[in-house]
């Protein structure tokens, strides 16, 4: 008998297979960790188990009983509860009010419920609940005064009050301090001993080892490993997570000229996010002419913030950035472009393109000087620019006058690549340049980047595709937790070594200076 069993569970989004025939078995009273990189399909899988998404095909069994959830309500009925990565709490209400939200206890009058809420009974109930599970919480405290770790406990209690037997936690440790993580691990183990089945989604391997009884590795929508935690180790898991097939089809002859002529230097860069938490710690590196410097790392370790800081979308709190000898720390995006930085942004539909505007308008974005005179657009020049890009970069469009929203991912990305490369920068900041792009376009974009380097320019490549970073770069830095944790030579390194660095393990021997 198993708590959850899925048989050939598949989910597709517009032809993209997010989950491909997943067979997952969770035993009762165990802690199951599901690991994989961002985009591997973990969250899709959990959303299906929780009734948020419907499977395209396949079957879910809860306690060996086939189920078809139409909504999370159905899942709740089967005693499945989920704690989301971003808490669903009302900050201005107290702990007990949050826990009993939607299931308030009403005051009774002559044995009949009235619309009035019975505060005392509510507080007592929650106190008893906290007692039962040995949490340290004051039910009368307002949620806005609680630390993140305690908020999470409130979320868990909310589920426990609703009598769940299977608890799903989505990236529960991503917002916690190391001490809070230890508390959480202890709590979850207690809950397991109390008879609950727990599923934890994560990509932090240390926690997997400390927490789980069994672990399932998901890569690109498929289960690639399923074992007892006692029979594996971090090293093996890291390899399974990141060691994907090399898809490179472009010949990279390499011509590392490191240290000769730094084209782009970052020195001791630090930055804080909106909440005031430091997210970048003393990042330093040089990108030289004729070099592609890769930055690898599990997503969420500061790469996005680094890109934002370097592309002028986030203020840095310390350190400096130099481009071709000119200081460009905290420059605006237009100043950066004028100084010779091309930016292929992380999310092409958020920062790179405007989907509802025409292809031509997108082709000239950020480089309007060339096609306008005294602030007035010269339509002929704009169209000529668009036609040149479409032809030179083989961008296939059904209608040249149409909008970008009509283009496939690959063609849309090629518009950005064309726009940024054609304006003759000295340095290209390429972030996830081939994410969600078809094979043909991947090959094309890779060859464009190599060509750009071979012409004597510098490329900073930030990608979570390890194979991409390793095959394109002349030197690879690994980011972990907002720091550069190590440097590797992509010609000689192994996926295993990089995987360990990505998981936060310090390299045992030298080669550390960035």
């Amino acid at each position: 008998m198993s708590a959850i069993r899925t048989v050939n569970l598949t989910r597709t989004f517009d032809g993209f297979v997010a989950n491909d025939r997943i067979n997952l078995t969770v035993e009762p009273r165990e802690i199951k960790c599901i690991v994989g990189e961002n985009g591997a399909g973990k969250t899709t899988l959990m959303n299906m188990l929780y009734g948020v998404l419907k499977p395209t095909s396949g079957q879910i069994y809860i306690h060996d009983e086939p189920v078809a959830f139409r909504s999370p309500l159905d899942a709740m009925e089967k005693h499945i509860g989920m704690v989301h990565q971003h808490f669903k709490l009302v900050p201005s209400l107290t702990v007990y009010e949050n826990i009993l939200l939607g299931v308030e206890l009403n005051r009774k009058w002559r044995g009949r419920p009235t619309p009035l809420i019975d505060r005392d009974a509510e507080i007592q109930t929650v106190e008893a609940l906290i007692e039962t599970y040995h949490f340290q919480l004051d039910p009368r405290e307002k949620v806005q005064n609680l630390s993140v770790g305690l908020c999470q406990q409130v979320e868990i209690l909310k589920m426990l009050y609703r009598n769940v037997s299977i608890l799903i936690l989505d990236e529960p440790t991503s917002v916690l301090t190391p001490q809070e993580v230890d508390v959480l691990i202890r709590k979850l183990k207690d809950l397991r001993d109390a008879g609950k089945t727990i599923i934890v989604i994560t990509h932090k391997l240390r926690e997997v080892m400390a927490l789980s009884d069994s672990v399932t590795v998901i890569k690109q929508g498929r289960v690639v490993g399923d074992m007892r935690t006692s029979q594996t180790n971090e090293r093996a898991l890291a390899q399974m997570m990141v060691g994907r097939d090399v898809v490179l089809t472009v010949q990279n002859d390499g011509c590392c000229a490191c240290g000769r002529h730094p084209a782009y230097s970052v020195h001791n860069l630090t930055a804080e996010n909106e909440a005031g938490k430091q997210v970048l710690h003393n990042i330093s590196f040089d990108v030289c002419q004729e070099e592609i410097l890769g930055i690898a790392g599990v997503e969420g370790n500061g790469q996005s913030e680094l890109v934002k800081a370097l592309s002028g979308l986030m203020t840095v709190t310390g350190g400096s950035v130099t481009l071709g000898g000119q200081d460009c720390t905290n420059d605006w995006p237009d100043e950066l472009r004028r100084k010779g930085l091309g930016i292929i942004p992380e999310d092409r539909y958020a920062q790179g393109l405007c989907m509802e505007m025409s292809i031509a308008d997108n082709c000239v974005a950020g480089h309007c000087e060339a096609v306008s005179r005294f602030g007035v657009f010269q339509r002929r020049k704009v169209k000529a620019c668009r036609d040149r890009y479409l032809q030179k970069y083989d961008i296939r469009v059904a209608e040249a006058e149409g909008t970008v929203s009509q283009l496939s991912g690959g063609n849309a990305q090629k518009i950005i690549v064309a726009r940024e490369l054609e304006n003759r920068p000295q340095v290209i900041l390429a972030c996830q340049p081939t994410r969600g792009v078809d094979i043909g376009s991947i090959e094309f974009i890779h060859s464009q980047l190599l060509q750009f380097r071979n012409a004597g320019n510098a490329v900073l490549l930030i990608s979570s595709e390890l194979s991409e970073v390793l095959s394109l770069s002349d030197r690879v830095l690994v980011m972990y937790n907002g720091c550069i944790i190590g440097t590797v030579n992509p010609r000689t390194t192994t996926a295993e070594e990089v995987g360990l660095l990505m998981a936060g393990a310090k390299p045992s021997s030298g080669e550390e200076s960035a």
Binding site: P72, K88, A350, C354, M357, A365, G366, C368, G375, V376
Partner: protein, 358 residues
């Protein structure tokens, strides 16, 4: 840019008008009058006779400008609800400049008044613009509330320092002859209509053909993209609010110099020209051509109110009823286009279930 989308857009504007007229007709029927006759007189007199049409154009001029003032900001997803205040401020001081500055030359005097009026409009629009750009203060709230502050300030100025002593009611001195726009022919139309038309064409050109217009569109459609590709969004917000304030000031000045000639407490009418502008921007779907048509149509309703009173037994308040109904139905459609009311209703089911479980 967006061909083939005109159908639903037009429908979204025409449907509320038809609905408003339809319900208005029921009201007229209830009073025992013939709605077709009433509507025929209302629109016929203000649109189909030369004099009536020219009068309509005269009143359409400030409405056209306030409609544009609102539409340019809406295009960038900035909400300048303070057009009324900017118009009053601009109009007031244009009137003061017109009354007190002894410039003999008529052209120079008018130009000076326009400079003062537009300058005041810009100045007043800068308060929410700077707050929005540098302190992230919601511009909608600030612009909205500042309207009332401005009304009070002008009430003080017109009852105190600038009150016309010899007048029996509260007003500022009448502007000098050299600042006045004179009627052309027997209708009320003045040269100001052509000034407004010129401003309209200029704004059209700016929005369609220039870099500023392009950037405004980009900011409205995807602010993150706009910022990332080097359009400094906060700067553009200031430029945009200045443009909007200038248009509002222009409208106020023109209304002062071509119609009112002095500031009274009911200078802008009720609802004010700025609020009417909002309705016109909605009715015209924020497109310049749409706003031109909407302004003329709306003005025809306003001038038609008098005719309905004169030639039928239907009270002129029926026009106010139709106007309010239009606002009501436009608001519904507006939500539909911007937020996808239908899609939201569909998503509601799932979300509701989701919310309960959390």
């Amino acid at each position: 840019m967006s061909k083939g989308k005109w159908g639903p857009k037009m429908l979204n504007s025409i449907l509320p008008v038809l609905l408003a007229f339809g319900i208005g007709a029921i009201v007229i029927l209830l009073i025992g009058e013939d709605p077709l006759e009433a509507y025929g007189i209302m629109l016929g007199k203000s649109l189909l006779t030369t004099k009536g049409f020219l009068n309509t154009l005269h009143y359409a001029a400030p409405l056209l400008l306030t409609g544009l003032a609102i539409a340019v900001t809406f295009k960038a997803n900035i909400f300048n609800m303070g057009v009324e205040g900017q118009l009053l401020f601009g109009g007031f001081f244009a009137g003061i400049a017109g009354a007190y500055l002894p410039v003999g030359d008529p052209l120079l005097h008018k130009l000076l008044c326009f400079a003062v009026g537009m300058g005041c409009g810009v100045l007043f629009a800068m308060i929410p613009a700077l707050l929005k750009a540098y302190c992230h203060v919601d511009e909608m709230v600030v612009t909205l509330t500042l309207n009332y502050a401005m009304i009070k300030v002008l009430e003080y100025l017109s009852t105190g320092p600038f009150r016309e002593a010899g007048s029996g009611y509260v007003c500022t001195p009448t502007v000098l002859d050299s600042a006045m726009f004179y009627r052309l022919g027997s209708s009320r139309i003045t040269a100001f209509f052509f000034v407004a038309l010129g401003a309209f064409l200029l704004v059209w050109f700016v929005m369609r053909r220039t870099r500023l217009g392009y950037e405004i569109t980009a900011i409205g459609k995807n602010p993150e993209f706009a910022e990332a590709t080097g359009m400094r969004v906060h700067r553009k917000i200031i430029v945009l609010m200045a443009l909007s304030g200038a248009l509002a000031g222009l409208a106020g000045t023109g209304f002062m110099l071509s119609e009112k000639f002095k500031y009274t407490l009911s200078f802008s009418g009720n609802p004010g020209l700025g609020w009417d502008g909002m309705l016109i921007a909605l009715l015209g779907r924020h497109s310049p051509a749409g706003i031109l048509i909407a302004a003329v149509f709306y003005s025809a309703l306003k001038t038609g109110a008098d005719n309905i009173n004169m030639y039928t037994h239907v009270p002129k308040e029926i026009v106010a009823v139709i106007q309010s109904l239009m606002i009501l139905f436009l608001a519904v459609q507006f939500l539909d286009e911007r937020y996808g009311l239908l899609a939201r209703l569909k998503a509601r089911k799932g979300a509701k279930a989701d919310a309960i479980t959390r």
